[in-house]
Amino acid sequence: MIQLDNVNKSYCMGKGEDASRLHVLKDVTMRVDAGEMVSIMGSSGSGKSTLLNVLGLLDSYDSGEYTLAGESMSELSPTRAASLRNRHIGFVFQSFNLLPFKTAVENVALPLYYQGIPRKKRLRVALENLEHVGLLPWASHRPTQLSGGQQQRVAIARALAAKPSMLLADEPTGALDTETSYQVMELLTGLNREGLTVVVVTHESDIAAMTQRTVRLRDGKVVEATTNAQDPLVPAVTL
């Protein structure tokens, strides 16, 4: 599903004389197979969010090769990137990012709007997805009327609405308490068992432990890739 080969990314810091380059991703090589659930761990500043942005086609990279579903991701136009994001990638964010003036079902339907699907069908598909995350009764509620866990489940339903090839979750439990966090992770592992590829960025090791494999980043480098114990059926993947 995902293949990264020696991907480098650096940001320009400051301007003019003081400019210095911040090397955020250094020769990152990693692979996520279809149907896998992988966590990316690292402390703050390790480059894990940048890696997720690159994976999610929200950010470009400087060198190396990124192949998504067999297609090279270099030199993408913004329009092409938008369409790939729409078809292949579902995003889940730490702060949910639901639009406050739309109801739960309208939020879920939003990605389908950008696929040009008619409103009626959009809302039907959105309701199916809300049912999938167990929030059908809350379909016409606005985000502010929902709890944090419920909001994140709406966000997951939204990420699923366009039937993406994979789910990218950036600290999906970062704003939730432990119990709710586990419920959300349960939902994500459940989706993974149904065949969805899931990549979770987290800094919490208990969350990472719920995935099949953990890629550790430090200072922009992949330092370790371990197969997690609770699922011995998945073989370790070498880098």
């Binding site: 942005n53 329009t79 729409n86 739309k102 990605p111 696929q115 008619p118």
Partner: protein
């Protein structure tokens, strides 16, 4: 993406900020409201002025005797020049381009008491030639105006204005009846109307020869008025010069002596007033468009703020697969919707007010029948739509450049 769908999306976002949407809409509505009101006001004033000229023929010259200021041919200065019947004949014979010509003479007083039976009233009496009806644009309602035979035979006939009928005759038919003026009986041979000031409908016309005869068989006239065959300034300037030349020869004053004759050139006055009003119209457009431009700048500005405030939303939309084009479309449609709807509201309100004023305006000489024509309205609407798109473009491109990574970064 069909139109209804994207409209729904725009309406959703607009409804999420009702106050801001309302205020923005108000500024645009006000802009177009002012534009239309100003245009209508300009139209009303200009119609009022044009109307006030309807009283008299526009391409006419009115000649009055004056006082000399230059010695000439052995005559001292300050000699009074009085026009006579001879001048009337001279001008009608010798000035090229004279179309209709009349002289005017008054009795001892301009306004005199007229009676019919027990009824009496004070009215203006004008003694003139038959052509006078062209100069004053008198409209014959019944009977006839004065004719050449009346002049030649100095008949005691009168043509009365429509506003004279009721006070003197009540329900009685005035035609063929007699009115008494300074002890002389006149037969009413016609009734006329006049589109000009209402005072014009209270005049009574009698043959000039009759009035002169009854005023001591004088041949003096108060003024000579005539229309020109051609309606442009070169022609009336040439005719004015010819009039001065001819009358200077006849009365023995210098043709350079401007004060010996007073000549009122209605065409010149008309041209001057209409040029003032085309200036007014230009000014009205300028102010109106300025007001509208301010409203549209307001929209653009508020859209910029809105884009900035919605950076996160736009970033999210992009993450969910919105193309730059669809983001631009969202913002431009939003601007267009605000300007379009509020513009139409402003337009409607202005048209309503203009209509109300037109219906309830008391008749007056300065402001008449204000209106905005369809072309102006369509033009204003077109300007509005184009400006709506333009005002949305800058914010839209700003929005399209939102970087989803930055926008979605958690604080």
């Amino acid at each position: 993406m069909n139109f209804v769908d994207s409209l729904q999306e725009v309406v959703d976002t607009l409804r999420s900020h009702p106050l801001r949407t309302m205020l923005t809409a108000l500024s645009v509505a006000w802009g177009i409201f002012m534009l239309v009101i100003l245009l209508a006001a300009g139209d009303g004033i200009s119609k009022g002025v044009t109307h006030s000229f309807r009283d008299d023929a526009v391409n006419s010259l009115w000649v009055y005797g004056g006082q000399t200021q230059k010695p000439h041919g052995g005559h001292p200065v300050n000699r009074k020049i009085t026009l006579t019947n001879d001048d009337y004949h001279l001008l009608s014979r010798d000035v090229p381009g004279v179309e209709h010509i009349t002289s005017r003479f008054y009795f001892q007083f301009r306004t005199m008491t007229i009676s019919h039976g027990n009824r009496r009233g004070a009215f203006d009496i004008r003694a003139c030639h038959p052509d006078h009806k062209f100069l004053e644009k008198s409209i014959i309602k019944r009977g006839r105006f004065l004719n050449d035979l009346d002049i030649r035979e100095a008949r005691k006939v009168a043509v009365i204005g429509v506003a004279v009928v009721e006070p003197l005759f009540g329900q009685e038919d005035p035609m063929g009846k007699t009115i008494v003026l300074a002890g002389t009986h006149y037969t009413v041979v016609g009734i006329f109307d006049d589109d000009g000031r209402s005072s014009e409908q209270r005049k009574i016309y009698v043959p000039i020869s009759t009035a002169q005869l009854l005023s001591g068989a004088t041949s003096d006239v108060k003024q000579i008025m005539f229309t020109l065959d051609e309606k442009h300034q070169e022609r009336s300037d040439a005719v004015k010069a010819a009039v001065r030349e001819i009358l200077a020869g006849h009365h023995n004053f210098s043709s350079q002596d401007k004060s010996a004759l007073r000549i009122r050139d209605n065409l010149e006055t008309y041209a001057r007033v209409t040029s003032v009003f085309s200036g007014v119209r230009f000014f009205v457009w300028l102010v109106g468009l300025g007001t509208m431009a301010a409203g549209l700048l307001g929209v653009s500005n508020i859209m910029l703020i809105s884009v900035k405030e919605r950076t996160k939303e736009i970033g999210l939309r992009k993450a969910l697969g919105a193309t730059p084009r669809s983001i631009i479309r969202l913002v431009v449609e939003e601007a267009l919707l605000i300007t379009g709807i509020s513009g139409l509201v402003g337009l409607g309100a202005a048209m309503g007010l203009v209509h109300f004023v037109r219906e309830h305006l008391p008749v007056n000489d300065y402001f008449r029948e204000p209106a905005v024509d369809l072309g102006t309205v369509l033009g204003a609407t077109l300007v509005l739509v184009i400006a709506g798109v333009l005002s949305g473009l800058v914010p839209a491109y700003r929005a399209a450049q939102v970087n989803p990574v930055v926008a979605l970064r958690d604080e």
